[in-house]
Symmetry: C2
DNA sequence: CTGAAAGCGCTAACAA
DNA sequence: TTGTTAGCGCTTTCAG
């Protein structure tokens, strides 16, 4: 920078002003400085800037696992939203492990970023206070509500209810609630099960508890395994509301192997609208959780906290809209 | 840090020594300092450290697209390898666009990291010199060989040959080379086609050029589309060697819709061993490219360049071993 | 084994 | 509109 100043015949400060688009600079001075920067190939040292200004231009995205397509797609959307604002994204994987989720939040790495998008699986409502760290945090997901930070999530209850009503509308009655977590009230599984039940209740129908299926980890293999157990148990069903796409796809595979036709014998709907649902055989009906809007909103809220003129604004809870996407797996069979 | 030094009754330098595990410190001094750090909740300022030491502890991973499962899994492996060395990873997506790939490399963001893992799709051999930037770079992928930087890749030719030989061994002869790029010599498509042809040549068999199928982008949808065209053309075939898993899966779907049985009518093998291949129906035979080893090796080489005692070592070309993974899609049908 | 002092490259406050 | 100066928090000589 000193070299640039020298070569352009101005002071260091002027160079700084040019770089930062400080408004009051004579046009020819600016041009001269820009030229010199170009010819010398000068690039600002981000560490120094970070040290001085207290801002690094990076945010962190903490997620359980990139190999999980939902989170890879979320990361993609977050990076797009961040790039629009000139931010880079550092991704940290927690593996959905509680200790690791906390460790990451407290770790020195988080000092390298201006803010944190924090998508947790293991932390729960009782950990709300632990999320209160000096760095701005925007929480994602369904594990903690009413915590000390901004929170962006989807309308889980309503979405699950809509998915279930979609199944009821096609005439199905023996519907699996596929992906429950026993005793969970809050969290994706708990909320989605609640929405599922609401659909039955308000239709004045009874739902057989034998049709509530626990699936531990919501990976494809878990869905496959759980479906095998269901088939082995001999319980009768004509539809599946799966609480995410991965387990829906795993379950579909097992049903097809067992000779069940989808949607003729069993209709299926998932959750997340991952890309693969458009290409599976049959294509999978699902809930679009508004991933891009979630990412965009989360980054926006985080930026507001970072630039922080509104220091004392209360934590905000934002619920993004969803859409029911009907595909082959829940088509009404025309006879 | 000053506060810590004060509270512990030592100098700033001593605190720094403790933090950096400088060897010659009396044990009780170290303990005292560590205690104070703990109680005060001190955390070092990474920007300042970066400014002073010239190292930030971050590396960048430049990839085309996280939504592409192969790259998401690669990113996962890279992050694991980086975490082992205390590094954090910044991911940049290029979209496989040439301008963007170059822009990223030259951008100010790259000043925030100690090194770059650079996985390009659009850049080609003729761009080799452009990759020669001051920051250490390790190149991934098949677009540039013999460039100015270290390079880690898989044995593409050999792997494609092995995949094809696997098909030949199961008695197939009308084998589609699925995913070619016309006129490409280097690059994944070119190399894999070369390996494909080698298998035929050394078996003394002729391969019908009508069975070489161009697929532009190697996304699932492209594979589906290309397979539709093949079926419409009426050309006969009994096996598919697809140059990646995504197009293999897309093609499988189309074949199944068309009533072809896999592997009975058509055997299929892909490339990449993405997780989904273990769960598709049927499960997909594939080439395991040694993703973890690629990531581990790439990070190791990069670290060597960063710590850089071996400044003048010549660029290294490393080819990682692959494995043929046989699954349902290429099982020999027992009659 | 520990302390003092310099300076990494930048921006903010103030002065001219 | 531009220049001068101080200092962000740390590591690194160099002395003790």
């Amino acid at each position: 920078m000193r070299t640039v100043a020298l070569a352009a015949g101005v002071s260091i400060k002027t160079v700084s002003n040019v770089i930062n688009d400080y408004p009051h600079i004579r046009e020819d001075t600016r041009q001269r400085v820009l030229e010199v920067i170009e010819t010398l190939g000068y690039q600002p040292n981000l560490s120094a800037r970070g040290l001085r200004s207290g801002r690094t231009g990076a945010i962190s995205l903490v997620i359980p696992d990139l190999r999980n397509v939902y989170f890879a797609e979320l990361a993609d959307s977050v990076m797009a939203a961040a790039a629009k604002r000139g931010l880079v994204v550092m991704i940290e994987q927690s593996g959905g492990d509680r200790e690791r989720e906390l460790e990451i939040l407290r770790g020195p790495r988080m000092r390298m970023v201006d803010g944190i998008l924090y998508s947790v699986l293991a932390l729960g409502q009782e950990d709300a206070d632990l999320v209160d760290v000096p760095t701005p945090v925007v929480l994602l997901g369904e594990r903690i509500f009413g915590g000390p930070t901004d929170h962006v999530t989807m309308k889980n209850v309503e979405a699950a209810r809509a998915a279930t009503e979609h199944m009821l509308a096609t005439g199905r009655r023996r519907i699996l609630a596929f992906g429950a977590h026993e005793n969970e009230v809050i969290g994706s599984a708990g909320l989605r099960l609640r929405g599922f039940r609401q659909a039955f209740d308000s239709a004045g129908l009874h739902h057989d508890d034998a049709l509530v299926v626990d699936v531990g980890n919501w990976h494809r293999g878990d869905g496959a395994e759980a479906m095998r157990a269901v088939l082995a148990s001999g319980v009768a069903f004509d539809a599946v509301v799966a609480f995410n796409d991965a387990i829906a796809l795993g379950a579909m595979r097992v049903m097809q192997e067992a000779g069940l036709r989808i949607p003729d014998d069993v209709a299926v709907i998932g959750f997340d609208n991952i890309e693969e649902t458009r290409y599976s055989l049959p294509t999978l009906s699902t809930i679009d959780p508004g991933r891009e809007e979630i990412a965009e909103t989360a980054v926006r809220l985080l930026m507001e906290r970072i630039t922080g003129s509104e220091e004392r604004i209360a934590p905000r809870e934002i619920e993004v809209d969803f859409r029911v996407i009907q595909r082959e797996s829940s088509t009404v069979t025309v006879l």
